[in-house]
């Protein structure tokens, strides 16, 4: 039971990060019906920005400000930076292609992805960075429930992902921009006729989606994983997977899909042969999609005749 509990905690933490990335995909898909393949690299830039913010503040070995403040600054800088990057990507890769086929933006997003990865390689140099969290947040700090240990960083990540998701839901449901976004996702032409400034709302959507990915990047670093220019490919893929499983276009779906994916992965690695864990995960996902082709919370795509 404890073993299961521990793996669940692992899975939920992993899932929280996936969910944040998945949200970016789903938000953009909702308004533009396209898949933003550059999203994973936005996540990567977020991780780098957080790293540089940390070094700027003296860390990890000699932070000049209290740890809590340093973490806050790291997150803020990363999220602001990636949010802006999201807006730039929209402006250059997606806006010119708004009226063309659905496949063209895929390739231009691909081009942006290559540019981001190699640009990062050029400027940041190829060495792999780490946040070295254990230097300023000792790994022994945490609490246990029975045999299950939850260290402070993991707890922080769990709490923060939950908080961000709640904030996002409030934003989507409560604010005017959020409601406008949902209107555009439902019917773009009608939204325009209602006087909604589509361009502005799309910019906001990209900003928010990218900022969430940036936060995910910093969390990834804090969880002691390496930061390198190619790190965005697989999480981007997983985030995309999570968004589609949850039902692409649905915000709660993305959150659910992300958490589910994280838990499935951890359980697969925990109970099945680690060698075949990935294979089995994908087979499970395929089977799931066959039975629920629209994802968990997805709306069946209505085809206008």
């Amino acid at each position: 039971m404890d073993y299961l509990g521990q793996q669940l905690i692992n899975g939920l933490t992993l899932g929280g990060v996936y969910a944040l990335i998945a949200l970016g995909y789903t938000l953009v898909y909702g308004v533009l019906q396209i898949l933003n393949f550059a999203h994973g690299d936005v996540y990567m830039i977020g991780a780098f920005l957080g790293f540089f913010a940390m070094t700027w503040l003296g860390g990890p070995l000699a932070p000049t400000v209290p740890i809590a403040l340093m973490l806050l600054v790291m997150f803020l800088i990363a999220m602001m930076g990636t949010g802006l990057l999201g807006i730039v990507i929209e402006r250059f890769a997606y806006r010119p292609l708004r009226n063309s086929t659905r496949i063209a933006p895929l390739i231009s997003a691909l081009g942006i992805s290559i540019l981001l990865q190699n640009g990062a390689l050029l400027i940041f140099s190829p060495s792999i960075r780490t946040y070295d969290t254990s230097s300023y947040i000792p790994s022994t700090l945490g609490f246990s429930i029975g045999e299950i240990t939850i260290d402070s960083v993991r707890l922080g990540v769990l709490v923060l992902s939950a908080v961000l998701m709640i904030l996002l839901t409030k934003w989507v449901n409560g604010t005017q921009v959020g409601r406008a976004m949902r209107a555009i996702a439902y019917d773009k032409d009608a939204a325009v006729m209602m006087g909604i400034d589509v361009d502005r709302v799309i910019r906001w959507t990209f900003f928010v989606g990218a900022a969430l990915a940036g936060a995910a990047g910093v969390m990834n670093g804090l969880l002691m994983r390496g930061v390198s220019s190619g790190m965005g490919l697989i999480p981007g893929l997983k985030g995309f997977t999570a968004a589609v499983i949850g039902g692409i276009g649905s915000v709660p779906g993305a959150m659910l899909g992300g958490l589910l994916l994280g838990v499935i992965e951890s359980l697969a690695q925990g109970y099945l042969s680690t060698n075949f864990a990935d294979t089995i995960t994908f087979i499970l996902l395929i089977t799931f999609m066959l039975f629920r082709p629209n994802g968990i919370l997805g709306r069946p795509m209505m085809v206008k005749v």
Binding site: L110, V198, F282
Partner: protein
């Protein structure tokens, strides 16, 4: 300001193209018979094969032919039938690994080539059929992701199958050698004719591509070809018109899979080794880029796209070609933006002025200049050595210039026209500075940057691809 085009349909959207096709150049081009346009490619290919012994170029030609076959296959699936198959490259891998397992020491099997190749190709076709079955329930992006999963399952399965432990056995079973790959494959051996030279494979591939081109061209004019196109445009309508959508999709899948499987066996035989990381997402992305760049749905487009995606990265390995491309592209960009020749000259003059001003400023501050020998690479270096000041700490300045360039471009995109004109010469200078200081030293990364930039620019300029038709999605 919304960009909504109310009442747009394809006829309207293709207006520009119709105008363009009236131009004398296009009319001339249209009058050349089809076989001549295609023939020119193959004539060049055959002549080259007959007269050249350059191993490197022959190898590039082989890569091109393989990539072409993959592009054709994907073009059928995506371009003709409209199925977004993100796991297509797994068929290629399956063909290659299938050949490898039957022609190496891994399983101790050494089947003769004339059995292995058809056998594996047919197996791949069956695999394509099996994978098409789930596609009956899924559409659009959901189908895309399931095919992506299939592709990943293949990769993971191969990676994991070097360590299969059965509960009853003590030791593990190694089927696919996992990440180590399977080296030492038998090369092709058709009834005694051994393919021991890269040229043999070159001929085999070029002839295959020729046959394939003719075959696909013929097929696309038959019922099944038309059926594909109808399904692509509107599956619901096709069903109503009596086209069995499921059957049509299946045929597309199987056709694509067969081509990929066949190409895979040839690849394995030629390289005499297979490694799983060559059959994963990076290759998939490249094939997609080729097909879409060329214009999905167009065979000629697939040809051009594949050629660009194969030849360009190889060309860019040579710094001089990269430099030529860069400066030509820069000049063309300024030319197009300037619209008038006088304005273009003014920009050039301004850039030159900024260069000298920069030089003076740097010397006044006292920044040390880099050793001339270090950066004077290639022809551009010689031209610019007196004009451009290259600081010693190139990495720092290069990074700074990169970020500055991006910021300037960002401002440029949102600036008022008057400010656009002011920013332009600075952008031009910063680009040249960045190139000479940093990019030229870092050939491999620059190569990737150029490819990425090219993809973005080409898509923005011509979203339908080079040979595609402007299509409008009606949701």
């Amino acid at each position: 300001m919304s960009n909504l085009r109310i009442g747009t349909d394809e006829w309207v959207a293709q207006h520009e193209e119709r105008l363009a096709s009236q131009s004398p150049l296009n009319k001339l081009f249209a009058r050349i018979p089809l076989w001549a346009k295609w023939g020119s490619f193959f004539v060049i290919a055959f002549v080259f094969g007959a007269f050249s012994d350059n191993q490197y170029l022959l190898r590039v030609g082989v890569n091109l032919a393989l990539f072409l076959m993959l592009s054709y296959g994907l073009n059928i699936v995506v371009g003709y039938a409209g199925i977004l198959d993100l796991g297509y490259v797994a068929f290629y891998g399956f063909g290659a690994y299938g050949y490898a397992l039957l022609s190496s020491e891994q399983l101790g099997q050494h089947w003769p080539t004339y059995i292995t190749v058809p056998f594996i190709t047919i197996l791949t076709a069956i695999l394509g059929y099996l994978i098409s079955l789930p596609s009956r329930r899924l559409f659009g992006d959901y189908l895309a992701i399931v095919t992506l999963f299939f592709g990943q399952v293949f990769v993971q399965l191969v990676l994991a199958s070097d360590n299969i432990t059965f509960p009853w056995a003590d030791d593990y079973v190694d089927i696919t050698a996992g990440s180590n790959g399977i080296p030492g494959l038998d090369t092709f051996n058709f009834f005694g004719f051994i393919f021991d030279d890269i040229k043999d494979y070159y001929w085999l591939l070029m002839v295959s591509v020729l046959i394939l081109t003719i075959a696909i061209h013929r097929v696309s004019a038959t019922r099944i070809g038309r059926a594909w196109r109808t399904v692509r445009e509107d599956a619901l309508v096709s069903e109503v018109m009596g086209v069995s959508v499921n059957r049509v999709k299946t045929i597309a899948f199987v056709a694509g899979a067969t081509i990929a499987g066949f190409a895979g066996t040839i690849f394995a035989g030629m390289q005499t080794s297979v490694f799983i990381n060559g059959f994963d997402l990076p290759l998939m992305i490249m094939i997609y880029a080729a097909v879409i760049l060329g214009g999905s749905g167009s065979l000629a487009g697939a040809l051009i796209g594949a050629t660009i995606m194969t030849i360009l990265p190889e060309l860019l390995r040579v710094p001089n070609y990269g430099a030529i491309l860069f400066f030509v592209a820069l000049t063309l960009t300024f030319f197009v933006i300037s619209k008038k020749f006088n304005r273009f000259l003014i920009y050039v003059a301004l850039i030159i002025l900024i260069g000298f001003a920069f030089q003076l400023a740097m010397k006044a501050i006292g920044v040390t200049q880099a050793n001339a020998e270090d950066w004077m690479v290639g022809l551009t270096g010689d031209l610019l050595k007196n004009w451009l000041f290259v600081p010693e700490n190139r990495i720092l300045w290069g990074n700074f210039a990169f970020i500055l360039l991006l910021t300037l471009i960002a401002f440029f995109s949102i600036a008022k026209p008057i400010w656009k004109q002011v920013l332009l010469p600075f952008i031009g200078f910063t680009a040249i500075f960045l190139w000479e200081v940093r990019l030229i030293a870092d050939v491999s990364t620059t190569r990737q940057l150029i490819i990425g930039a090219m993809l973005v620019v080409l898509m923005i300029l011509r979203p339908q691809g080079l040979f595609g038709q402007t299509r409008v999605e009606i949701l």
